[in-house]
């Protein structure tokens, strides 16, 4: 085996498996692997918002879970809460609320957010209690491990891992470099 290695996204983005913003046929795809308890992901949240806003129809954005439970004990359940909101059609709203206050990720905090979003509270609580979305979160995590996710946040742009900083100039530079030549 050689000593060269390049990490690439092994599970392509599809509207069926992923939470997406943008057109599936957009020329640029950016996938974020994130952890709701990770402060660096919290800092990256407004950056992704800005990129989505700037690139419009040119970008397909997808978010996948990568909870690092060893250091972030609340991250896995928070990810399941986002999925539970997603099962009621409000994934991105919950995603934003979770990143808006990363200090409050205890179960009652998650339920309070569900109430803010006027979700079916009993269903939400039941799905968290039974870990109904654990398998989806694990599937995201495993897809990340196999793709070379190396911490959070990790971004893939058109399938290639972005190894620079998770800030606006660096991500925009990678995105511009990935625009397919006509």
């Amino acid at each position: 085996m050689t000593t060269t290695w390049e990490s690439f996204l092994t599970v392509p983005v599809t509207p069926e498996r992923d939470h997406i913003i943008g057109r599936p046929d957009a020329p640029l795809t950016m996938v974020e692997y994130g952890d709701y308890e990770c402060p660096f992901c919290g800092m990256a949240f407004p950056v992704t918002e800005e990129i989505i806003d700037r690139l419009g129809d040119d970008l397909l954005f997808a978010y996948r879970h990568f909870p690092l439970a060893t250091v972030h004990p609340h991250a896995a359940l928070a990810a399941e809460a986002a999925e539970a909101a997603g099962s009621q059609g409000r994934f991105w709203e919950m995603h934003g609320l979770l990143y808006a206050n990363q200090q409050r990720l205890e179960p009652p905090d998650l339920v309070a957010r569900a109430e803010m979003l006027k979700l079916d509270r009993d269903r939400f609580v039941d799905e968290l209690r039974t870990n109904a979305h654990r398998a989806k979160v694990r599937s995201d995590f495993m897809s990340g491990v196999h793709s070379g996710v190396n911490g959070t946040p990790t971004f893939f742009i058109n399938g290639r891992r972005h190894d620079g900083p998770a800030d606006l100039p660096s991500l925009m530079e990678s995105l511009q470099a990935a625009v397919p030549r006509r």
Binding site: T3, W5, S7, L68, T70, V71, V145, G148, N150, T154
Partner: protein, 176 residues
Amino acid sequence: MQAKPIGDARSMTDLRHEAPLPTGTPAPEFDLPSGPDATLGLRDLHGRPAVLAFYPADWSPVCSDQLVLYQEIRPMLEEFNAQIVGISVDGVWCHRAFAQHRGIEFPLLADFEPKGAVSHAFGAYRGAEGVSERALFVLDPDGAIHWSYVSPIDVNPGADGILHALKDLTGREAPV
């Protein structure tokens, strides 16, 4: 017991870009402190695949993410019957505090005295900085190198290369 004497310190500092030992090479013998009263050596790794993760320093943000990630994927490594150890030039007490703080449960070996000698023997020492490279080695059960990789020092290599190498070595499928 050290793999190579390091009588001439200059020979290490001049080797700024060592090449990691390649596939097929028997891993150098070593025996390093894994704690205040214990050591761990190549012979302890025989019989199972092993991952050696050399890294520059405890506590630096990139390293911590990398080792925390390896802690997270230990169940996947166990599916390959593989063991993992981390190796840096930090001392045993530093390793202990770091491991406790980050919840790392696999052994961290101290390549502390003579400094960096084992890293150097694997071709994974940065003489100019006096730290180990961010280098990965996957050893077969007989202690031969099956795969090696040196990452740019500031880039956490993730776990995909390790899993790919273990899959190739064992013929088993990685868990998904």
